[in-house]
C-alpha cells in the first residue's frame, strides 16, 4: 500500500520562520499588515507560514527559500546547477522526502551530509536522517518547496511512471483492462456466435422470435429501471445533502489539505479558466494542493502554465512519456505526490461551484466511514451553443441530477463522472487508484469502490464544463466513453458470480443496467430501427404474424411507449435546474440516439483493434469558453495595470 503524504501535526512557526517573514516585510515584499495577517492565517488554518505567504501574497517558493537561507545564514541550494548525489537517496524514503520537503543533497569531503530542506527546524527531518545514516553529521542547505518537489520527481520518475502504469495490473490483473478479453470470455463469445449461426440455419423462426423476445424484455427492463431512477431522483429530498448551515459550521483550522489534480494535454488555451476557478474557491488557499498534471513532452502547455506565474496556486507535475498515454495514468503518477486527505480530479476547463470543496468535506464528515467518494454533479456552461451542446446538457442533467442520486439511494454502484469526483486519498491509493488501461477509468473505479464495500455519495454542488459541440470531436469522445463502458463490463464480468456476491442482486442488476446494457442498446438500436422500417414496408400485420402476441406486445410497448418515455426523461431533465428553454429540445432526443449508435460502432471497432487508445476531447472549441478566457485575460491585464 502506498503511503499518503498528508502532513499530520501542525507546528506553530519557528523563530527563524518568523524572522524570515519579517525580513520579507523589511525588503518590501509584503507589508506589515500582511505579515500579521499571514501569521494569523497560519495559526487559524494550521498550515506552514510559507504556504500562506505563497498562496495569498504570491511569495514564490524560491523567494522564500532564498530569504530563509539568508536569515538562517545557511547556503541556498541551486539544485539546477548542482543536482543531488543519487547514491544518497533511497526510494523507500521518497514519501518522507515529499512529506517533509527535504532530501540528502551531497556528501562533503569530511563525510558530513548536506540536507536540502525548506524548513531546517523540522525535527522530523533530523530523526529520519539519523535513522537512515546513523553516526553521520548533517548540515543544512535551503531550497524552495517546488524546487525540492521537482528534484524528487525527476529522480524517481522511472519507478513512479512504472507504478502509475502497472500497479493495479501487478496487484490484481483480473481487475485491470490491460487484457481486454479473458480466455473464458473469448470462448463464450465464440460459443454464442456459433449458437446463433446454428440457430439461424436450423430453426430460423424460433431464433428470430427468441432474440426479439429477449431484446424486448431487456429494453422493457431498462426503461422501467430508468423510469424508477428518474422518479426517485426527481424528488427535492435528494438535492438537500449539504446546506449552508453545515458549511458555516466548518472550522478552517480543522479543514484538511485538499489535493486537486488537473490532468491536461495540449489544452493551454483554457488554462486561465482553471486558474480563475481555483482562485475563486471558498477554501483556505494554503490548504489547496493543486497539481497541474502535464505530459512531459507537452511543452506548449507547460510553457503556458509557467507563463501564468501562478506558482502560488499550483505545482506542475510532468508525467514521463510512456504508453498508454491516458488520463488515468497521468492521475496515478500525480497521486504519488498528493498531500491532501482528500483528492479531487478536475478538467482544465472546469468551473466548480465555489463552495464545492467545503460541501464535500461536510458531506464526508456527516457520512459513514464507508463513503469513500463524493461525486459532484456535472453540467455545461455553453448549453446554448448548438444542437449537440443542448442535447448533451439534457443528457448530463438527467444523468447527474436524476439517475446518480437514484443509484445512490438504491445502493447501486455509481459510475463516476470524468471529473469532480472527490476521494478519500488513502482509500483511493489502497484500491490501486485508477486503471490506466481503462478509458473510462472513473466508471471502473466506481464499481471497484462498491465491490470493496465502499459507497459513493452525490453532493448537491455542480461543476460546469464545456460541452463538446463539434460533431467529430463529440463522436470521438462518446466512442471513448462507450468503449470504456465495454471495457469496464468485460473486466468485472470475468467472474460474474463473484461480482454478484459482492454487489448483491440490486447492485448486480444495476451494474448490468448502467454499465453493460447502454453500449449494447446503442449497438442494437440501428438493427431494431431497420426492422421497424422493414415492417412498415412489408405491412405491419404480415410482419406481426411472425411473432407470438406477448413478444409483439412487449416490442410495441418498447417502440411506442418506452422510446417516448425516454424522450420524456430528456424533457424532464431540464426542469430541475429551471432551464425551461431546453424543454422543447428534449423532443429531438431520437436524432441524438442515432449519433450514439455511430459512436458505439466506432467504439466496438476500437475495442478490438486499439483498446487502450485515448480519444482526446478537444476543449476550447466553444465561443463561450473563448469569451471567458478573453474576459479573464482582460481582467488580468487591468489588474496588472492597476497594480
Amino acid at each position: 500500500m502506498v503511503a499518503v503524504l498528508a502532513v499530520t501535526g501542525w507546528r506553530p512557526p519557528t523563530k527563524r520562520t518568523l524572522q524570515t517573514a519579517a525580513a520579507l516585510c523589511r525588503i518590501g515584499k509584503i507589508t506589515e499588515a500582511q505579515l500579521y495577517e499571514a501569521v494569523e492565517l497560519c495559526r487559524q488554518w494550521q498550515v506552514p507560514l510559507p504556504d500562506v505567504l505563497s498562496s495569498i501574497y504570491q511569495i514564490s517558493s524560491q523567494a522564500w527559500g532564498r530569504q530563509m537561507a539568508q536569515t538562517c545564514e545557511l547556503p541556498f541550494a541551486d539544485l539546477q546547477a548542482r543536482p543531488p548525489d543519487k547514491s544518497l537517496l533511497d526510494e523507500t524514503s521518497r514519501d518522507d522526502y515529499l512529506r517533509h520537503l527535504f532530501f540528502p543533497w551531497r556528501r562533503e569531503a569530511d563525510g558530513v551530509i548536506t540536507v536540502v530542506a525548506r524548513d531546517p527546524d523540522d525535527p522530523d527531518i533530523q530523526t529520519i536522517m539519523r535513522k537512515r545514516y546513523p553516526g553521520c553529521s548533517f548540515e543544512y542547505a535551503i531550497s524552495g518547496k517546488f524546487e525540492i518537489i521537482r528534484v524528487i520527481q525527476s529522480l524517481f520518475d522511472t519507478a513512479l511512471s512504472e507504478q502509475a502504469r502497472e500497479a493495479l495490473f501487478l496487484r490484481d490483473p483480473e481487475l485491470s483492462a490491460k487484457t481486454t478479453f479473458s480466455a473464458g470470455q473469448r470462448w463464450s463469445f465464440i460459443g454464442l456466435i456459433v449458437l446463433f449461426l446454428l440457430g439461424l440455419t436450423l430453426r430460423p423462426h424460433f431464433t428470430l422470435v427468441l432474440l426479439t423476445g429477449l431484446t424486448s424484455a431487456l429494453y422493457t427492463l431498462l426503461f422501467l429501471f430508468r423510469g424508477l431512477l428518474t422518479i426517485i431522483g426527481s424528488g427535492r429530498k435528494v438535492d438537500l445533502s449539504v446546506g449552508q448551515a453545515e458549511i458555516a459550521a466548518l472550522d478552517d483550522a480543522k479543514l484538511p489539505v485538499f489535493t486537486v489534480l488537473v490532468p491536461m494535454y495540449h489544452e493551454a488555451e483554457v488554462l486561465p479558466i482553471l486558474v480563475s476557478s481555483i482562485r475563486k474557491m471558498d477554501y483556505p488557499r494554503a490548504k489547496l494542493d493543486v497539481k497541474l498534471v502535464l505530459e512531459a513532452n507537452d511543452h506548449e502547455t507547460i510553457d503556458a502554465a509557467k507563463a501564468l506565474n501562478a506558482e502560488d496556486l499550483f505545482e506542475i507535475i510532468r508525467v514521463p512519456d510512456s504508453q498508454p498515454k491516458t488520463k488515468p495514468k497521468a492521475c496515478n503518477y500525480a497521486l504519488r505526490f498528493a498531500r491532501g486527505d482528500y483528492t479531487v480530479v478536475f478538467d482544465a476547463e472546469d468551473i466548480p461551484e465555489t463552495d464545492q470543496l467545503k460541501k464535500v468535506v461536510a458531506l464526508f464528515r456527516a457520512s459513514p466511514d464507508n463513503v469513500a467518494c463524493v461525486q459532484a454533479r456535472l453540467n455545461y456552461f455553453n448549453r446554448d451553443d448548438n444542437f449537440l451542446t443542448r442535447m448533451f446538457t439534457l443528457e448530463y442533467s438527467h444523468w447527474f441530477d436524476y439517475l446518480l442520486p437514484g443509484l445512490h439511494l438504491l445502493n447501486i454502484p455509481i459510475p463516476l463522472g470524468g471529473t469532480s469526483n472527490h476521494f478519500r486519498t488513502d482509500v483511493l491509493m489502497s484500491l490501486g487508484a485508477w486503471d490506466p488501461y481503462n478509458v473510462t477509468e472513473d466508471a471502473d473505479l466506481g464499481v471497484r469502490l462498491t465491490q470493496a464495500g465502499y459507497r459513493v455519495a452525490v453532493v448537491n454542488s455542480t461543476t460546469f464544463e464545456e460541452a463538446n459541440g463539434v460533431l467529430k470531436s463529440w463522436i470521438n469522445q462518446r466512442s471513448r466513453w462507450i468503449k470504456g463502458y465495454m471495457q469496464t463490463w468485460l473486466v468485472h464480468m470475468r467472474h460474474p458470480v463473484r461480482l454478484y456476491r459482492r454487489l448483491g442482486f440490486v447492485g448486480f442488476m444495476g451494474f448490468q443496467m448502467f454499465i453493460g446494457f447502454p453500449p449494447f442498446t446503442a449497438l442494437i438500436n440501428p438493427v431494431l430501427w431497420a426492422m421497424f422500417l422493414l415492417s412498415l414496408l412489408l405491412g405491419p400485420r404480415s410482419f406481426a404474424a411472425l411473432f407470438p402476441p406477448a413478444v409483439l406486445a412487449m416490442s410495441l410497448f418498447d417502440l411506442l411507449i418506452g422510446n417516448a418515455m425516454y424522450v420524456y426523461f430528456n424533457i424532464v431533465a431540464a426542469s430541475k435546474r429551471r432551464w425551461y428553454s431546453l424543454v422543447p429540445w428534449g423532443l429531438l432526443a431520437p436524432a441524438y440516439w442515432v449519433l450514439h449508435s455511430v459512436a458505439a460502432y466506432k467504439a466496438l471497432g476500437q475495442l478490438i483493434t486499439n483498446p487502450h487508445y485515448w480519444e482526446k476531447t478537444q476543449h476550447g472549441t466553444s465561443s463561450q469558453t473563448m469569451d471567458k478566457v478573453a474576459a479573464l485575460n482582460l481582467s488580468e491585464v487591468a489588474a496588472g495595470e492597476a497594480s
Binding site: 422518479i231 424528488g235 410495441l556 411507449i561 417516448a564 424533457i571 424532464v572 431540464a574 426542469s575
Partner: protein, 390 residues
C-alpha cells in the same frame, strides 16, 4: 412472570398502531355493510346499467377507449372460471372497504382521534353515493379513486413543487385518461389550475414546461395506443373517434334515458350552479374548505388543492352536461365525495374542524337519502327500491 420479564414482553410485543386499529375496524365494518347491501341487491337480481357491458367489453376495440384499466381488470377476472358480471360487485365492495380503512388510518395519522376518524369515515359508508359505488360493480368507484389521487398529487405539487411531484401529477393524469372515458372534463379544468399551484412559475416558459411535463405522459400513452392501433389496421379516424367521443355528444338512447340531460343538457352555467348546490347540500363537508380558506393562513397560502377539491367535480359535471355526456349527477356527487376525502387527507384540521367535518357528514348522509333531487334517475331509483324497498 417477573416485572423484568413483563417489561421485556411489553417491549417486544408486536403492536398495531392506533391508526391501523381504527382503519381495520372501519374497513371491516364497511365490508360488512357493503357486503350485506351487495348481497341483497344480487339476490334481488339487480345489475346496474352498464355493468354488463363493462363485463362484455374485452375484445370490442371500439368500446375500450378510455377504459383500459377496467378492460385489463375484467380480462383478468374473466380468466377465473365461473365468474360473471356480478363478480365486479365483489371487486367494488372489497376496494371500497379498503379505501375506507386506509382513509381512517390516514386521518388518525394526521391527528384525528380514532373516535373522530371512525365516525367520519364510518358515516361516509352510509352515504347513498358511497353505498351505490361500493355495491353496484360499476367503474364509478375507480373514477372517484383516481380523481382523489389527482387531488393528492396536486397538493403535493403545490406544497413541494419539485419535478417528482410534477411527474406524479403526469402519471395520475395517465391513470385518469386510461380508466375514464370522460376524463377530459376533469382533466381540462385541472390543467388550468396547474400553473397556479406551481409556486416557481415566474415565466411563460416555466408555465409551458409545467404543462408539457404533466401532459406528456398522457400524450405518449394515448399516441402509443393510437399508433399501435393504426399499425394493426384500425383506421386513424376510428381511433380518434374513440378519444374525441366525449366532445361529440352522447348516444341518443342515453340522452333519452337521462332526466338530467333532458332538462339541462347543453346548459353548462345552469348545470354548474345546480351541481355546486347539490355538492354543498348533499356533501356539506366540502364547505369546510371555505371555512379553512377564511380562517387559516396556511390554507390561503396554498389554496389550489382545496379549491380544486371543491370546484373540479361541479365544473367537470357542467362541462359534461354542456356536451350532453352527464347521464346522472351521481358521478359528480361521487367525485365530490372522493375529492373531499382526498383533500381531508392533505390537511391538518383543528379539533373543532374535525367535529364540524363529522357533523356535516351526518347532515349530508341524511340529506342525500331524503332529498328527491338525487333520486330522479331511473337506475338510482331502481337501486334504492331494490335495496330498501322504497
Amino acid at each position: 412472570m417477573s416485572d423484568v420479564l413483563a417489561t421485556d414482553y411489553q417491549r417486544t410485543r408486536p403492536t398495531i398502531s392506533r391508526g391501523w386499529q381504527a382503519g381495520l375496524i372501519v374497513g371491516f365494518a364497511s365490508l360488512i355493510i357493503f357486503t350485506l347491501a351487495g348481497e341483497r341487491l344480487a339476490m334481488q337480481g339487480y345489475i346496474a346499467a352498464g355493468v354488463q357491458s363493462v363485463w362484455n367489453q374485452p375484445g370490442d376495440n371500439s368500446n375500450i377507449g378510455g377504459q383500459w384499466v377496467q378492460w385489463l381488470l375484467v380480462a383478468i377476472f374473466r380468466l377465473i372460471p365461473g365468474t360473471t358480471a356480478a363478480t365486479l360487485s365483489v371487486v367494488t365492495v372489497i376496494s371500497a372497504s379498503f379505501v375506507q380503512g386506509f382513509m381512517t388510518h390516514d386521518l388518525v395519522k394526521r391527528g384525528w382521534s380514532p373516535l373522530q376518524a371512525v365516525l367520519a369515515v364510518g358515516l361516509t359508508a352510509l352515504h347513498p353515493v358511497m353505498l351505490y359505488m361500493a355495491t353496484n360493480g360499476a367503474p364509478m368507484l375507480l373514477y372517484g379513486i383516481v380523481a382523489g389521487l389527482v387531488i393528492i398529487a396536486l397538493d403535493r405539487f403545490e406544497a413541494i413543487s419539485d419535478t417528482q411531484s410534477l411527474i406524479v401529477v403526469g402519471l395520475v393524469f395517465v391513470l385518469l385518461v386510461i380508466s375514464w372515458p370522460n376524463a377530459i372534463y376533469f382533466l381540462l379544468p385541472t390543467l388550468v389550475l396547474l400553473p397556479w399551484a406551481f409556486r416557481d412559475v415566474r415565466s411563460y416558459s416555466a408555465a409551458t414546461a409545467v404543462f408539457v411535463i404533466s401532459i406528456a405522459p398522457t400524450f405518449i400513452v394515448l399516441s402509443g395506443l393510437a399508433l399501435a392501433g393504426t399499425l394493426f389496421g384500425i383506421p386513424m379516424h376510428d381511433l380518434l373517434a374513440i378519444w374525441s367521443a366525449p366532445l361529440h355528444g352522447a348516444q341518443l338512447q342515453i340522452v333519452q334515458q337521462s332526466v338530467w340531460l333532458r332538462f339541462y343538457g347543453g346548459k353548462p352555467v345552469l348545470a354548474f350552479f345546480l351541481l355546486t348546490l347539490a355538492c354543498m347540500g348533499l356533501m356539506p363537508r366540502v364547505l369546510l374548505i371555505f371555512v379553512r380558506l377564511l380562517s387559516n393562513r396556511q390554507e390561503r397560502r396554498r389554496p389550489v388543492t382545496g379549491l380544486a377539491a371543491f370546484f373540479l367535480p361541479p365544473i367537470s359535471g357542467a362541462l359534461a352536461t354542456w356536451f350532453w355526456h352527464l347521464g346522472s349527477i351521481w358521478t359528480v356527487i361521487a367525485l365530490s365525495l372522493m375529492c373531499g376525502s382526498a383533500w381531508a387527507a392533505t390537511v391538518h384540521f383543528r379539533n373543532w374542524e374535525r367535529w364540524l367535518w363529522v357533523a356535516s357528514i351526518a347532515c349530508g348522509v341524511s340529506a342525500a337519502w331524503l332529498t328527491p333531487f338525487l333520486w330522479f334517475e331511473p337506475d338510482q331509483q331502481l337501486w334504492r327500491q331494490t335495496l330498501l324497498g322504497w
